[in-house]
C-alpha cells in the first residue's frame, strides 16, 4: 500500500463566483446578482466538519482557496473557514494557505483581512500585461491596476505569484518575449504561465467552432513560445518545475505539488474534487457542481458529495504517471509499476529516451524539455495497450 501521507495532505476549497465570466474559462465559475455569504459560511463549515471526520489523523500541509474568484469572499468568511480548519486538523508547522485573487483595487482592499485570517500566499490572475489583450480576454482590470494590486499583495503576503495566459490571438513570438521579460522583472519567486487553451463549451470554444477565433498561433509558433518561456524563466532563476509553473527553488506551490505527487486532498465546495484514503483504499470524490445544488445538498442531505469512486491500483498508477511526469522531479518507475501491476513498456521508454523525450535515471523517469512539449504523446506511448 502507498503511504497516504507520502505526497502530503491538503485541502482545496472552491468558491464558484466571479464578477464576470471570462470567454476562455471553463472553470466552475458563475456570475450571480447576490451572494448570501452567511449561508455559504454555514455550508462550508459543515463540509469542513464532515471532511475532518473522515481524515482524523492527518497533518494538514496546505489549504488552497480556488475559484472562481475567491477574492470575492469576505474577509470574515475566510476567517471563519480558517478558524474551523485550525480547530479540525493538526496543522503542519509550515502550513501554506493560498488564495486566488483577481487584481482589482476592490479586492486589494480585503488583502489585510485575508492575511489576518491566515492566508500566507496569494496567486493573482493578471493574465496579460497589455490592455488590449486584457480586454480581449474579457478581464475587468487594466495593467496599471494589476500592478498596483500586485505591489500591495507583495507588501501584505510572504509569498505571491501571478498567472499569465500566452499564445493569445495575434500574439507574436517577439511580443511574448517582451511581455515575459517585464513579467520576470515584476515577479517575486513564483509564476504560472499558461498557453491559452480553447475549451469546449466556453465563448471562445463556440467562436472557434464557428471558425471565428482568428490569429491563434499555429503549432510551430506555440511550440517556439513554450521553448522560449522555458529558457527565459530558467535564465531568470525561475525554472519550470511543472509544465506551466515556474519558481525559485524552494518557492514551489506546495499545494499543487500534492496533486502532482499523488498525495491526499479533500475537496470542499461545489465541484471540488478530492483524493482520500480510507481503510487502505484510495477514493476519488466529487461534489455537486452547480452552486445551488451543492448548497441544497449540504443543507438538506447533510453533505455535498455527489460521487465517490474507489480507484483501482491501476487507476492510481495511471494517475500518478500522468500527473507525475508533469513535474521536473518525474516519477518513481517502481512505484508506478507496482500500482499499475504491469511493467511500463520497455521498448517505448527506450525509444522515447533515444529520441530525447525521456530520461530514465535509476528509478526516476522524467521528461526532458522536448518531452514536455509533447507530454500527451509520451503518455500515449507509455500507457498504450
Amino acid at each position: 500500500m502507498t503511504e497516504p501521507s507520502q505526497g502530503g495532505f491538503g485541502l482545496y476549497l472552491h468558491w464558484p463566483f466571479c464578477q464576470a465570466k471570462c470567454p476562455y474559462c471553463d472553470f466552475n465559475s458563475h456570475v450571480v446578482a447576490r451572494i448570501d455569504q452567511e449561508q455559504w459560511e454555514t455550508a462550508y463549515l459543515a463540509e469542513l466538519d464532515r471532511a475532518a471526520a473522515e481524515t482524523p489523523d492527518r497533518i494538514l500541509d496546505t489549504v488552497f482557496f480556488g475559484g472562481g474568484t475567491p477574492s470575492l469572499m469576505s474577509a470574515s468568511l475566510v476567517q471563519a473557514i480558517m478558524d474551523r480548519i485550525r480547530r479540525n486538523w493538526r496543522l503542519s508547522n509550515s502550513l501554506e494557505v493560498t488564495l486566488e485573487a483577481n487584481p482589482t483595487s476592490v479586492e486589494a482592499g480585503r488583502f489585510q483581512g485575508y492575511r489576518q485570517a491566515g492566508v500566507n500566499r496569494v496567486s493573482m490572475g493578471i493574465q496579460a500585461l497589455n490592455n488590449d489583450d486584457l480586454r480581449r480576454l474579457g478581464r475587468l482590470h487594466s495593467v496599471e491596476e494589476a500592478r498596483r494590486a500586485f505591489d500591495f499583495a507583495r507588501e501584505t503576503f510572504p509569498q505571491v505569484s501571478f498567472d499569465l495566459i500566452y499564445a493569445r490571438q495575434d500574439q507574436s513570438l517577439a511580443a511574448w518575449e517582451e511581455e515575459l521579460s517585464s513579467a520576470l522583472n515584476m515577479a517575486a519567486d513564483h509564476l504560472s504561465l499558461y498557453q491559452l487553451t480553447i475549451e469546449e463549451g466556453t465563448a471562445f470554444g463556440e467562436r472557434m467552432a464557428r471558425g471565428g477565433l482568428k490569429g491563434l498561433p499555429d503549432e510551430d509558433t506555440a511550440a517556439a513560445m513554450f521553448e522560449m518561456t522555458q529558457a527565459m524563466t530558467a535564465d531568470a532563476g525561475l525554472p519550470a518545475y511543472e509544465i506551466s509553473n515556474h519558481a525559485r527553488p524552494g518557492a514551489e506551490s506546495r499545494h499543487n505539488m500534492i496533486y502532482w505527487k499523488g498525495g491526499e486532498y479533500v475537496g470542499v465546495g461545489p465541484g471540488a474534487h478530492g483524493r482520500i484514503v480510507s481503510d487502505g483504499q484510495r477514493y476519488a470524490t466529487e461534489t455537486h457542481l452547480a452552486p445551488g445544488a451543492w448548497l441544497q445538498a449540504v443543507e438538506r442531505q447533510g453533505h455535498g458529495e455527489s460521487l465517490r469512486t474507489a480507484l483501482t491500483k491501476a487507476d492510481q498508477g495511471e494517475e500518478l504517471l500522468l500527473m507525475g511526469l508533469r513535474i521536473s522531479d518525474g516519477v518513481s518507475v517502481s512505484q508506478v509499476q507496482d500500482l499499475l501491476g504491469r511493467p511500463l513498456p520497455y521498448s517505448a521508454i527506450k525509444q522515447l529516451s533515444d529520441d530525447g523525450y525521456l530520461v530514465h535515471d535509476g528509478d526516476r523517469l522524467r521528461v526532458t524539455g522536448a518531452g514536455r512539449l509533447v507530454l500527451n504523446g509520451v503518455l500515449r506511448e507509455l500507457l498504450a495497450g
Binding site: 486532498y265 474534487h273 500527473m323 503518455l379 500507457l383
Partner: protein, 599 residues
Amino acid sequence: MTDLSHIRNFSIVAHIDHGKSTLADRLIQSTGTVQDRDMKEQLLDAMDIERERGITIKANTVRIDYVADDGRKYVLNLIDTPGHVDFAYEVSRSMRAVEGSLLVVDSTQGVEAQTLANVYQAIDADHEIVPVLNKIDLPAADCERVAEQIEDVIGIDASGAIQVSAKTGIGIHETLEAIVKLLPPPQGERDAPLKAMLVDSWYDAYLGVIVLVRIIDGVLKKGDRIRMMHNDSIHHVDRIGVFRPPMQTVDELGPGEIGFLTASIKQVRDTRVGDTITHEKKGADKALPGFKPSQPVVFCGLFPVDNAEFEDLRDAIEKLALNDASFSFEMETSAALGFGFRCGFLGLLHLEVIRDRIEREYDIDLITTAPSVIYNVHMRDGEMIELHNPADMPDLTHVDHIEEPRIKATILVPDEFLGDVLKLCQDRRGIQMDLTYAGSRAMVVYDLPLNEVVFDFYDRLKSVTKGYASFDYQMIGYRQDHLVKMQILVNDEPVDALSTMVHRDRAETRGRAMVEKLKDLIPRHMFKIPIQAAIGGRIIARETLAALRKDVTAKCYGGDATRKKKLLEKQKAGKKKMRQFGKVDIPQEAFINALKMDG
C-alpha cells in the same frame, strides 16, 4: 382474377429525385389503397437506409384498384424504381414485367442523364411511354421548355405530357386516366401452360424467400408444385398474394398479373432473377428469354478494425448477401490488415450502403480498402487472370499486357460548365465520343476508363458543375492500356491496402496527390514518418509527416486528473479506430479518403 383488358402494368421511371416515389404515394393514396392515416412520405422506401438518404434503392410493386371515368374497375400494378445509376439493374428488370412507363421529369430541372438512360430502356422494352411533368407547384417549373426538351432530346411526343404536382396532388386524376387510356393491357393465355417471370426475390425472416412474379400465361394457385426452369428444382407453393403495399394473399394469379409467391425457399441464391417458373406437370417447354445478370463492377476489401470481430463481420456479410444477389464476397487476407473480405458492388453508392449497414446494424468498425475494378491481366503464357485486387498483381516479368474496363458515360450539363466537364473527362483519360446540344444544355458522351470514374468522379462532377450536371454510364468492354501497380509506403513499409492500379502517365500525379492526402490524414506521431508512392521499387512521390511538435495540457490540477484520464481513455478508444502498420497508426477513414482527388 381480373380480365386482361382491365389490367394495366407500368413502371415509374425518372432521374434521381425527380419524384417517382412521391408520385407513387399519390397514386396509392388517391385510389384509397392505403388509408390517409397510414400514409407517410415515400411510403414505398421502407428500408432505413432509403428513408435516411431519401432515395429509392429497391424497386417496389403495388397493386391499386381504380374505378375509371368510364365506370369500369381496373387493376393497376405499379413498380416504383430507383433513380441512382448503381441500381439501374433494378429498373431494367422491372421494365420487363410491365407494358408501359410513366416517365417522370422534374419540370424545374428538365431531362437529365438517367431520364435518358431509363427512357431508352423503356423503348427497348417496347413500352408505351407517358411523360409526366412533375413539381409544377414550384415557381421554377417550366413545363413548356421541358416538354420541348423531351421532344428534342428524346424524340418522343410530349404534347400530351401530364402536368403534375406529386406533392400537392395536382394532375393525379389525369395521370390515372392516362394510365388506363394510353397504356396497353397485358396479353396472355389463361389456358396455356404456366409461364411466370421471376422478376425479383428477397429474404424475409418470417416467410423465407419471397419471389416476385409476373404471370405471362396460365394460372398460379396456392398449393401448386412449380419448377424453376433454370435448374429444374421443384417447390411447393405455400402462399401467393399481391402487395397493397402490405402483403395480401389471393387465391390465384392469372395472366398479366403481378404478385408474389413463397415456397419454403431458404436462400435468395436458390432463385435466379429472370428465370421462368412453370408447373411441375404439364409445364411450359420453352423458357422466356432471361435477364442479363447484374455484375459487380467495383471491388474493395472490408476488414474489421478490430481483428477479433472477423467472425461477426462474416456473419453480417452473409446476412446482407442473403438479400442482395448483386453483392459478392470472398475471404481475403492482407499482410497488414489480417482477415477480411473482398467484396463486389454495383457501384460506389452500393458500396457505401452496404458498408453503412454493416457498421450500423452490426456495430462493426470497418476499414475499407481502395476500391478497384476488374483488370484482365494477360500473361506471357497466354493465360488470362481477372485481377480484383491490386495486391494480387502477378510479377511483371510474366505479364504480357493488361486490359481495363471502359464505360460510355453520358453527361448532361448547362453550357456554362461545359468546359469544366470536358476538362474533367480529359483528365480522367476520357475519349470524347459525342457532343450535342439540347436547348441551353450540352450532352457529352465520353469513353472513359471505369477505374477513373468509380471512385470520386461523380463527386467531382457535381462540384465542378455546382450540382447541375447529371451522369449515367454503361459498360462497353475492355481495352488494353499502360497500367501499373502503385504502392504506398508508410514509414518505409508497403501498405498493401493502399495499393492501386494507375495509368503510367498519371502515376506521378496520382502518387503525389495520395502521399499529400495521407500526410493530412495520418496524425502526427512522436517521430517523423516518410510517406512514399512507388512503382515497382522506384519512388515516384515522397512527403514527410513531421513529428508531433506540441501536445501538452497547460493546466492540470486536482480536478483535472479525472478529466485527463478520461481524455486518455478517449484517445485509446480513438486508437482502436486506427490500424497499426509497423509503428504507425493509420485511421480507418484514411484508406478511402487518400484516394479522393481534388482535380
